[in-house]
């Protein structure tokens, strides 16, 4: 029966980011969440378990505050969680995250059959952690997957590419990154949340892991994207609708 690892990132919910007056980003009112597509990865892992049995472990690397994310992940169905936590595991770049995930998997969750990740994180969306992790572990990876099955020691996946869909097969262990439309992630109920608090969590300290690499990239600037629009409002009575249509006509749009 397969052992499935599902990796997730605890990220800032971008809906709460405000644009500061000088074009900077205002993070003062932000909340955190499990990165959107990682929820699809967790859901898919649990669905595979429903078919094949086995165990599902959720895994994240992050700051100690991400423990909320660990609980959230467990309320979505995995049997246990692994949490590499340290205050320095903040603003990690993909090469570092992949390196730490690989170290945890090698030391604590081997052997395994399948690793599932979201195709990209909803904060930086570099789409690198999955394939980088597979490269470090020297296992095959299939990205941008819309359907996944386990058969006879192999993973068979539908990968979406520009020309359509490729059905790809790889021996296990393997890594798959999933697209958001692979499933609809469950919304955990009260019972799920209560059950989650009883599930085992293995917390791994920085000292338990080999040193992780220095960053390759440096962010030299992060500013709010400009969307300068005139933001003129119209009402819904006939005169206002006529005025709206008139504006469009003057702009030669109709």
């Amino acid at each position: 029966m397969p052992t499935i690892i599902t990796c997730f990132k605890w990220v800032i919910d971008e809906a709460y980011i405000r644009r500061g007056s000088s074009g900077d980003l205002d993070f003062s009112a932000v909340d955190y969440k499990i990165s959107d597509y990682d929820r699809n990865a967790i859901e898919e892992a649990v669905k595979l378990k429903d078919v094949h049995g086995g165990t599902v472990a959720s895994l994240t690397v992050g700051v100690p505050e991400a423990t909320k994310g660990i609980k959230d992940s467990l309320s979505r169905g995995p049997d246990k969680a692994f949490f590499a936590a340290d205050a320095s595991f903040n603003n990690l770049e993909p090469s570092q995250t992949a390196s730490l995930l690989a170290a945890v998997i090698r030391s604590f969750i081997t052997p395994y059959d399948l690793i599932l990740c979201g195709e990209g994180s909803s904060d930086l969306y570099t789409q690198q952690v999955g394939p980088r992790l597979a490269e470090i572990l020297q296992i095959p990876s299939i990205s941008f997957v819309q359907k996944v099955e386990l058969k006879d020691g192999k993973v068979v996946a539908e990968r979406r590419v520009e020309e359509g869909v490729e059905v790809v097969e790889a021996p296990l262990p393997a890594l798959v990154t999933v697209l958001p439309d692979i499933n609809v992630p469950r919304i955990p109920g009260v019972k799920d949340t209560l059950m989650a608090s009883k599930k085992p969590v293995v917390t791994i300290k920085k000292e338990d892991l080999p040193p992780f690499p220095a960053p390759c990239m440096e962010t030299v600037e992060m500013k709010a994207a400009k969307m300068d629009r005139s933001c003129e409002k119209f009402g819904t009575d006939t005169a206002e609708i006529a005025r709206f249509v008139d504006v469009l006509r003057k702009k030669a749009l109709i």
Partner: protein
């Protein structure tokens, strides 16, 4: 040794990369090399369009996955020390780029929207979108080679120039990958490509049921445009095909006129309409984020407003 490399599967993407590759190579006073797969490409075309050197990889055999070429690319890069490798940000090449970057212990700027060489500190400054498009992140890569994936359509295709010369060399054939492509299903497009549409009426969650999309279709027809949608409409409701989903992870559109109906305007979607000339929206929630990224907004229920708009348009 040094140089700028470009890697793309399709000729049109390779030509786009040659355009920016040429600029970087000139500024950095180095050569431009193109990595090509032998079967589908005429190397001379790429030399005419700006490449100084062609690296010809063995054609991928039937069912062969691109990841077979990871060791070939990495070994070539280790021997030739390119300054930068530019990949087309297509599904297969994004995957390939991330694995090559990992193997070479270097950084990768994904989905780079603009890049420029800064002679003052001899870095390549690269911009990309972050936080669903709410922010622009500018990065440099401190390790070599600098690796980048560039979305198709970011640069113009390079044009052939007479009299250009370049060298060609063949690379070793890789061992087959354990990953096998067992079937290819080519997408049959059910709808028009909206990335080229002049007018787009976008459908959002404000619609109660699939049949009601006829309202949007009628309006699109009256405006001479096509319909598009937000992610929940294609992904959760499956009311429209995913190629009509506008947003950071869908299609990015650049119409003269975009009209959102019942579209809340979450940042991922708003990013996809950034290049629209004029943005208008109808939404009953006056605090919907769409209004802050719209030129013209009608605060009202689309079921009330759209028939009125259709009526008013008849009189134009």
């Amino acid at each position: 040794m040094s140089g700028i490399w470009i890697i793309a599967e399709k000729k049109e993407h390779a030509l786009e990369l040659l355009t920016i590759g040429r600029v970087l190579a000139a500024q950095m006073e180095t050569k431009l090399s193109a990595f090509l797969w032998k079967d589908q490409n005429v190397p001379e075309d790429y030399i005419a369009c700006g490449a100084d050197e062609i690296m010809l990889a063995a054609p991928g055999s039937e069912g062969q996955s691109l990841d077979a070429f990871i060791p070939v690319i990495a070994a070539e890069a280790e021997n030739n020390h390119p300054d930068a490798i530019l990949f087309a940000a297509t599904a297969r090449c994004r995957d390939l780029a991330a694995r090559v970057a990992s193997r070479m212990n270097t950084g990768l700027c994904s989905s780079c929207t603009s890049l420029a060489y800064d002679a003052a500190d001899r870095t390549i400054k690269m911009e990309r979108l972050a936080y669903g498009g709410a922010a622009v992140q500018k990065v440099i890569c401190k390790t070599r080679p600098v690796m980048v994936t560039i979305p198709p359509g970011t640069f113009e295709q390079a044009k052939a120039e007479a009299g250009r010369t370049g060298i060609q060399r063949e690379l070793s054939t890789p061992a087959p990958s354990v990953l096998k492509v067992i079937e290819k299903k080519t997408k049959v497009r059910e709808t028009k490509d909206i990335t080229e549409s002049r007018v787009i009426v976008a459908v959002g969650r404000g619609f109660d049921k699939k049949e009601d999309l006829d309202l949007a279709r009628k309006l699109a027809c009256a405006l001479g445009g096509e319909i598009g949608c937000t992610r929940p409409i294609s992904e959760e409701n499956h009311w429209l095909p995913e190629e009509l989903c506008i947003g950071l992870s869908g299609v990015q559109v650049k119409p003269d006129f975009y009209l959102g109906l019942g579209v809340s305007g979450q940042v991922q979607h708003a990013t996809g309409i950034r290049q629209a000339k004029v943005v208008a929206a109808v939404n009953k929630d006056e605090n919907a984020p769409i209004f802050s990224v719209a030129d013209f907004g009608i605060v009202g229920n689309l079921y009330d407003v759209v028939p009125k708009l259709l009526e008013a348009l008849k009189r134009v």
